[in-house]
Every structure is written in structure tokens, then in C-alpha cells.
């Protein structure tokens, strides 16, 4: 430190000590920090361990997907949007594809719709299982993430079997789904759409997922330290959650029973019987439990969907060169992280005129300055972890 810097620091200290107060320390968390799930930066003033004036700084991972989408044609964009929320790449594709199909007035074959539904729920299980590992890691428990990633493989293997990709399947096509990996271009043959034995494998995997949930409940939910670290930590009222546009499990943890799968018709959920798990207090403990129950519900949904999958084609008739008629629409879907929506404006060309991406994590994260106010440093990490955001989803 040079003498000038030293002098300046002493002067600033002196001005504070006039008021007989100690200066709060500015703590910079991120963009490179073990617990920020990527490159989130948080600047907090801390007095001892208590933080106030929290300022999240975003944009370190901005990849400009909205702008990139404008210079690509529709089939190319699915590659991009896979990478928005990389923990559930498959689920990202759905609302975009549904929006485009809506603009083109395409009727997607039912079989394709059910395959989409099954894979979306698998993506939800994968994403939530990742949370089941990463959240205890933030609380200092290093073992659950190993168990969770191991159990997640069950689902990822199945997704890989159908789509050929584990994280970024890029499996949907406008008007349906792609014939499964290695199936060539003949879409009509039944034997070439889903891998042989897929349904039996899936049923077995869902039993495995239920077993994982039991194990998580047994090992983690009964742990006193986990309970002590999460109960009444980061409490959010339903009003606050709604005011900040929160969605998904974070919203439901506050007790608001709102699930787009019950409200919208982007996938054939109406014939399927499932519950919406909700919390009561809106603390980190509730957010954890809501996600845990959602894994069970997703397994239940997949079990029912398998029974309902009809036979038939995988794709609607679409022209070779896809042109979307002039118009605009907004389609939203219940993604693992919350509400994800695409507002597409088409000027009749091969690519969109403008795409606006409504990412769940961005809105969920906007509540941080409120919910972190007055929290302790360990709780900052715990609360951020419990909100389960992904920086790709925040910065787009």
C-alpha cells in the first residue's frame, strides 16, 4: 500500500470515528466464489457477520440470446435456448417450440406431445435432484451432492437414450419431436421413435427416483443441523413473492398454489392426476421440501403419461423451409426453476423479428436485496442456494 492510499484510508476512518461508529466492511461475494452457481456477484455491507445493503450485480454471463435469436432461423434457435438453464435443457425448448407452433397454427401429434411431457418431467427431476445435492453443499454437507448426481444419472441416461444428449438434447422439432437417435429420417415406423424397452426402463427408473427421495428424506430431512440452518431462514411472504414476480417452487413454498401445468395447455397435463406441493412459511426449509415433493409428483406424472402415450406419428406435416406467419404470441411453461416464457414477434420471415425470454431465475433472484437484508453471512449462502437459480437462466 502506498503512503497516499494509507493516508486516504486513515482519513476515511477518522471521518467515521467522529460519529463514534465503526465502519462497515464491504464484502464482495463473487463473481468468482464457490457458492454463486456461476458468476453472480453480490456486494454487501457487513457489520460483523450481519449483512445489509445487498446489491446483486448481474451480467457476467450475458450471452445475448435474445439478440442472437434475431439472426437465426427458427430450427436453429432451439440449440441456443437449450443453454439458458443448463440444468434442464430439455424443458427450455418446450415453450419456444409451442409458441412457434401456435403462430404457425400447427397441430402437434399426440404421441409427440406425450413424449415431450415425459422428457420435460425428467428434466424437472434432473434439475431438482441437482438442487438436492447443491443445497446441502452450501450448508457444508459434501456427501449429498455425490448421491444426488449418482441418482440423477438414472434420468439423464434415459434422456440420453431418447435424444442422444444429456444436457442439451436439442430434440424437439417444430411440429413434433425428432425421430430418436440413430433412427434415420423415416418417421412413420413405430420401432424407430423411442428406444426399445424405454417404458419399462422408465418405470424402473421412477421407482429408483422414489427410492432416492426416501433416502434423501431419511438422511437429510431428519438431520437437526439441516433443520436448524434452514427453518425460518430467508422467510418470504406470499405478497412479497408475488410482488417480485417469483414463480415455480420458490413461489409455491410461500403457500401460493400456482402451477402453470394446471393453468396453461402447452402440454397435455389436464388428463393427468398430480398434486401441487406447497409450503407454509416460505423459508428455506419449505423451498427444499417443495422441490423434494415435486420430484415425487414428477415421477407420478411420468408413470401416468407412459400409460397414456398413444401410437401415431411423431411429427406434423411441416414445410421444408419454415416460415412463420406475421404475428406475435407469448407462451409460458412451468419449468423446474419457475415460469419460463417466450414472447415471439414474427414478421413473416424464416427467423423471428424479436424474441423476449422470460427466465425464471432472473425474477427469482430479484428478491435477493429484500430477503438477504439483515441476514448473517452463512445465511446469505444458504438463502441463495435455496432459491435454486442458475446463472445462465439469469443472464441469458
Amino acid at each position: 500500500m502506498t503512503t497516499d492510499q494509507h493516508l486516504l484510508r486513515q482519513l476515511s476512518d477518522a471521518s467515521v470515528s467522529v460519529e463514534l461508529e465503526t465502519e462497515d466492511m464491504t464484502l464482495n461475494i463473487g463473481p468468482q466464489h464457490p457458492s454463486t452457481h456461476g458468476v453472480l456477484r453480490i456486494v454487501a455491507k457487513i457489520d460483523g457477520e450481519r449483512a445489509h445493503d445487498i446489491k446483486p450485480t448481474l451480467g457476467y454471463m450475458h450471452r445475448g440470446y435474445e439478440k442472437l435469436a434475431e439472426v437465426r432461423n427458427y430450427p436453429q434457435i432451439t440449440t441456443l435456448i437449450n443453454r439458458i438453464d443448463w440444468t434442464s435443457g430439455y424443458a427450455n425448448e418446450i415453450p419456444f417450440l409451442v409458441a412457434v407452433e401456435k403462430l404457425m397454427d400447427l397441430e402437434v401429434p399426440e404421441r409427440a406431445q406425450y413424449i415431450r411431457l415425459i422428457l420435460t418431467e425428467m428434466a424437472r427431476i434432473a434439475s431438482h435432484l441437482m438442487f438436492m445435492g447443491s443445497f446441502p453443499l452450501e450448508l457444508g454437507a459434501t456427501t449429498p451432492i455425490m448421491y444426488a448426481t449418482r441418482d440423477r444419472e438414472r434420468v439423464l441416461d434415459l434422456i440420453e437414450g431418447v435424444t442422444g444428449g444429456r444436457f442439451h438434447p436439442n430434440f424437439n422439432r417444430i411440429g413434433g419431436v425428432k425421430p430418436a437417435a440413430g433412427a434415420g429420417s423415416t418417421m412413420r415406423k413405430q420401432s424407430q421413435d423411442l428406444p426399445a424397452g424405454f417404458f419399462e426402463e422408465t418405470r424402473r427408473a421412477m421407482d429408483g427416483v422414489r427410492h432416492s427421495c426416501d433416502q434423501i428424506e431419511d438422511l437429510i430431512n431428519t438431520n437437526e443441523i439441516i433443520v436448524a440452518r434452514t427453518r425460518n431462514v430467508g422467510v418470504m411472504t406470499p405478497e412479497l413473492a408475488v410482488a417480485y414476480g417469483m414463480s415455480g417452487p420458490n413461489l409455491r413454498a410461500t403457500g401460493v398454489k400456482f402451477d402453470l401445468r394446471k393453468v396453461e395447455d402447452y402440454l397435455p397435463y389436464e388428463g393427468i392426476d398430480f398434486e401441487i406441493p406447497v409450503g407454509t412459511v416460505g423459508d428455506s426449509w419449505d423451498r427444499w421440501n417443495v422441490r423434494l415433493q415435486e420430484i415425487r409428483q414428477s415421477a407420478r406424472i411420468i408413470g401416468q403419461a407412459i400409460d397414456k402415450v398413444p401410437s401415431g406419428p411423431l411429427q406434423a406435416k411441416v414445410p421444408k423451409v419454415i416460415k412463420v406467419p406475421k404475428g406475435e404470441t407469448y407462451v409460458r411453461a412451468e419449468n423446474p426453476k419457475g415460469e419460463m416464457g417466450y414472447y415471439i414477434v414474427s414478421d413473416g420471415g424464416q427467423g423471428p423479428y424479436r424474441v423476449r425470454i422470460r427466465a425464471a431465475s432472473f425474477s427469482n433472484l430479484s428478491v435477493l436485496p429484500v430477503v438477504l437484508e439483515g441476514a448473517l453471512v452463512p445465511d446469505i449462502i444458504a438463502i441463495m442456494g435455496s432459491l435454486d437459480f442458475v446463472l445462465g437462466d439469469v443472464d441469458k
Binding site: S35, M146, N223
Partner: protein, 334 residues
């Protein structure tokens, strides 16, 4: 043969040299052994394989890691308080090594049988915290500083139950010499854990906090403070902290085994065999306790600093005080 050893040890300088060499051998060896045990046990607990390329089953992985540290650049941050920054790891390692001096490995097999052995061990083990605070303060890093301050808070909260829980065996034995305590347990017939189980639990909890092991590793807290007080350390100085962590854990568990588990003594071993079997017995007991510490680390999350303070002040200290009262009363009555 025995006479020759006694003669050599009687020479002050030769004896001191041998003792120093032995301690200098025990500390890195214990760190290597328990380090690789921790890696292997954690891998087993986490459904992983762990290292298995380096040497048979990966047993010399940590040797390779240790050699790696020699190659690393020794960085002292520009803003750091250089003398303190360099002194801190030495202090921590020194405190970890010092506890080995008073541990009796067999009848007469002790580096220095101090009259106040218990007192010495407790005092020296808290010296590590001075090094930790120095490291946190001198690193010129806010995370290090918070880690150092947390260690200071932990020291104040945990030194008391640690000391108070040790008072029970000391009252029973009537001496503060560790050899004396082991001999008292031989006379007593059973290890003190049988009659002093609650203070043993208090001691173990406090020892884990003192060692900054999970669930009390707040001074390090990877997910919050990156690496806590030794975030800024690299290369050889980092290795010092690493060695100190395992050596201190081993030392503390040897101390616990001596106080509560009967030390080198095990029932049924004839007196003449004790000098040879004693070290093995003690090592087994301490190894079991180290395993418990490793087990905790990989199965439990971390407490918050305020929860730890409330645990210490509201539960451990009253329990330990109550135990002293009960033990002292019973000692007088019986």
C-alpha cells in the same frame, strides 16, 4: 539392550535429539496416514472410488500431493503483513506438534512427562488459534479476516467446555500428569469413559470445534469463505496448515484416548509386554476416534457461528460444570 537405550536417553542432548527426531517423524507421518484415510473413507461414504492410480490403491497419493506443494510458487500478497503472514503457519504447526510431547505411549515411553501435562496440552492446543487469527488478520483478505475472527469466537466458546470436561478425569486421578492419569485408570480397573461418559462427549464436541472440523468448520467454511483463514496461502505454507490440521487432530485424539479410554493400557495385557503393546493400543484407540471425526465430517453439514455459541454456552458449559460438581462430590463421599 534396554540398559543401552536408558544410557543414551540419560544423555540430555542425545535424548533430546532422538525425541525431536521422533516427533518430527510422527507429525508428517500421521498427517499422511490420516489424510489418505480421510480421502479413502470419504470416497467410500460418498459412493466413489477415490484415488487409485498412485501406488497400490492410491495409498501414496498424498505423497505426490505433498511433492506438488514444493513446486508451487510461494506467494505473499502485496498488502499482507509479511512477517506475521509467514509466522502464522509455523505457529499453527508448532502447536499441533507440541501436544505429542506429553502423550505417554507406554509406561515410561513419553517424550516429557510433565507434572502439569494436561494443562500444557490444553494451553498449547489453543496456541493454534493465535496462529489462525494471525493468518486471517495478516492475509489482507476479507474472507481470511472473517475466518480468523470466527476462529477467535470459537476459541472463547470452546476452550471452556474443553477445559471443564477434562477436570473430571483429573479429579478422579488426582494428578495432572498424563502418565499419572493412565496409571490411575489401571488402578481404577476400567477406563474413565465408563464413569465419565458425558464429559467425554463434551470433550469430543469441543475438540472438533477446536480443530475446526465439521460440523464446526466455520473458520474454513469452503462454501462461504472460500478457504477461510488460509485462502491466501500457497505452496509450502499451505502444506504447513494441512500438516497441522491432521497432526492436531491426531494429537487431540491421542489426548482424548489417554484421558478417557485408558491410554496405552488395555485389560489383559501383562505388565512386561506393556512397553511394546502399549503404543499399538494407544494408536488403535486414537485411530478409532480419528475415524469418528472423519465420519462426522462427511455426514454432517455445518452449524452457524451463533448456533455454535449457543450450544457451547447453554449446553456444554453447564453440563461440564455439573459433572465437575458431581464427580468431586462422589470422589469425596466414596
Amino acid at each position: 539392550m534396554t540398559g543401552f537405550i536408558t544410557d543414551v536417553m540419560a544423555n540430555f542432548w542425545a535424548g533430546l535429539g532422538i525425541k525431536l527426531a521422533l516427533i518430527a517423524f510422527i507429525v508428517p507421518t500421521s498427517a499422511l496416514v490420516f489424510g489418505i484415510l480421510e480421502i479413502k473413507i470419504s470416497a467410500h461414504m460418498q459412493d466413489r472410488i477415490g484415488p487409485y492410480f498412485v501406488g497400490a490403491w492410491g495409498w501414496i497419493q498424498l505423497m505426490a500431493d505433498g511433492l506438488k506443494f514444493f513446486q508451487k510458487e510461494d506467494i505473499v500478497p502485496t498488502d499482507a503483513d509479511a512477517p506475521v503472514f509467514k509466522l502464522a503457519p509455523v505457529l499453527v504447526l508448532m502447536s499441533a506438534m507440541a501436544i505429542f510431547v506429553v502423550i505417554p505411549w507406554g509406561p515410561g515411553l513419553v517424550f516429557g512427562d510433565l507434572e502439569l501435562g494436561v494443562f500444557y496440552a490444553l494451553a498449547l492446543s489453543s496456541l493454534a488459534t493465535v496462529g489462525i487469527i494471525a493468518a486471517g488478520w495478516s492475509s489482507a483478505n476479507k474472507y481470511s479476516l472473517i475466518g480468523g475472527l470466527r476462529a477467535a469466537g470459537q476459541l472463547i466458546a470452546y476452550e471452556l467446555p474443553l477445559v471443564l470436561s477434562v477436570v473430571g478425569p483429573v479429579i478422579l486421578a488426582g494428578t495432572m500428569s498424563l502418565s499419572g492419569i493412565v496409571e490411575a485408570q489401571v488402578v481404577f480397573g476400567v477406563p474413565y469413559i465408563v464413569v465419565q461418559f458425558i464429559p467425554f462427549v463434551v470433550f469430543m464436541i469441543a475438540a472438533l470445534a477446536e480443530l475446526s472440523r465439521l460440523p464446526f468448520d466455520m473458520p474454513i467454511a469452503e462454501s462461504e469463505l472460500v478457504m477461510g483463514y488460509f485462502t491466501e496461502y500457497t505452496g509450502f505454507r499451505f502444506l504447513f496448515f494441512f500438516l497441522a490440521e491432521y497432526a492436531a487432530m491426531f494429537g487431540m485424539m491421542l489426548f482424548a484416548a489417554t484421558l478417557f479410554l485408558g491410554g496405552y493400557w488395555a485389560p489383559g495385557i501383562p505388565e512386561s509386554m506393556m512397553p511394546f503393546v502399549g503404543p499399538v493400543v494407544l494408536l488403535t484407540k486414537a485411530g478409532l476416534l480419528v475415524f469418528v471425526a472423519i465420519w462426522f465430517r462427511w455426514t454432517w453439514p455445518r452449524l452457524r457461528e451463533d448456533q455454535l455459541q449457543s450450544l457451547a454456552w447453554r449446553w456444554l458449559i453447564p453440563i461440564a460444570l455439573l459433572n465437575i460438581a458431581v464427580t468431586a462430590t462422589l470422589k469425596v463421599i466414596l
